[in-house]
Assembly symmetry: C3
């Protein structure tokens, strides 16, 4: 049920380890617990996909960045978690905070880069407009209670 | 109006016929009828896009799969239909079931593969948060009533 | 906060300037004003990502297009703006109209192509199902009020 999609400007490909970020976010998600101590995101249903955009445009296109001593080749990373309905606001915040902390840590060198200007946004959506849900899996049974 | 987006782990590219799955899902959508017998998804507006993710992470990363005799290189396929508001729950279910049945049939060999552990999720969203809709098309008129 | 995602059939790659369309849409967004004259979309948070789909299916697959003298290789472009909650219907319409006008102008030759049948849909979503939002940026401060 839960999945994360990362959309990012393709110019960041050489400056990031996106496979590592995917793994880090998945691991962070698997640590989230509900009020009763149970795992929020089922191990067999947790996945993260990252997509570099071959075409993009960000902000003013670079003028302000160059004026500030940067290279003007802005980057942006957008991380979206879609999760099922019915969890508390505290769980939403815990999940969002865990993903944000992971991304900030793994992307730290990018945000400290003296010539790069980069934005990161993390959002969590609760089953937006969802009216149907079906699953089929040979993966989920690996983690079923025995 | 209706469109389907398929997000999948890039490691499935060699094990699937995603162009064929796109076509199969589009064909399945065009068969869906409303309570009055009319076609739910207009032919000229029906489209399916499939995107392999060059970076991804799934589940525990492979340990449980390898322990179960698999190769630990998990795959995941997420199929999302976005459709306009105003249809009944029965139509939502018919559309979702048709897509799920198509995907399960076309991906059968993947789910039967002795070393692969793969998940499939199909969800239908009804115009989530939508506040604006505009169209422009040289395609739609091909199917206009004459 | 605001971002645009363009999903399009990969067969349009050679017939479009998608980097130019991304820039045009970002520029159009930055002109949108609220009722009080303030800029709706913050410069440092505005970005557009465009993704060609390597696999796709559109409409009837080409038969009607070929019967009408086209090449039957249909294209489709879907543009989605996700924006924060709390704006008026007039602002939603202004933003959607600006993006639609930009896309129609920049894609005009595609829609006038005698053998191509192509669809365009533009939709605006207001924070669909959103329950969490976090930002981290070295880009946004470039445009902070001084």
């Amino acid at each position: 049920m839960p999945h994360v999609v990362i959309l990012y400007t393709g110019n960041l490909e050489a400056h990031t380890d996106m496979s590592g970020l995917c793994r880090g976010i998945a691991d962070a998600m698997l640590t989230i617990r509900a009020e009763d101590g149970s795992q929020v995101f089922p191990t067999g249903g947790t996945r993260v996909y990252a997509y570099p955009a071959p075409h993009h445009a960000v902000s003013d296109g670079g003028a302000a960045g160059r004026a500030a001593g940067g290279d003007g080749d802005y980057g942006f990373i957008y991380i979206n978690l879609r999760m099922g309905a019915g969890r508390s606001a505290a769980v939403h915040k815990a999940a969002g905070d865990a993903i944000t902390a992971c991304a900030k840590a793994q992307l730290a060198s990018l945000f400290e880069h003296p010539q790069k200007h980069v934005g990161l946004t993390v959002q969590v959506d609760e089953a937006p407009g969802q009216v149907y849900d079906a699953k089929h899996s040979t993966l989920h049974p690996l983690f079923a209670k025995r």
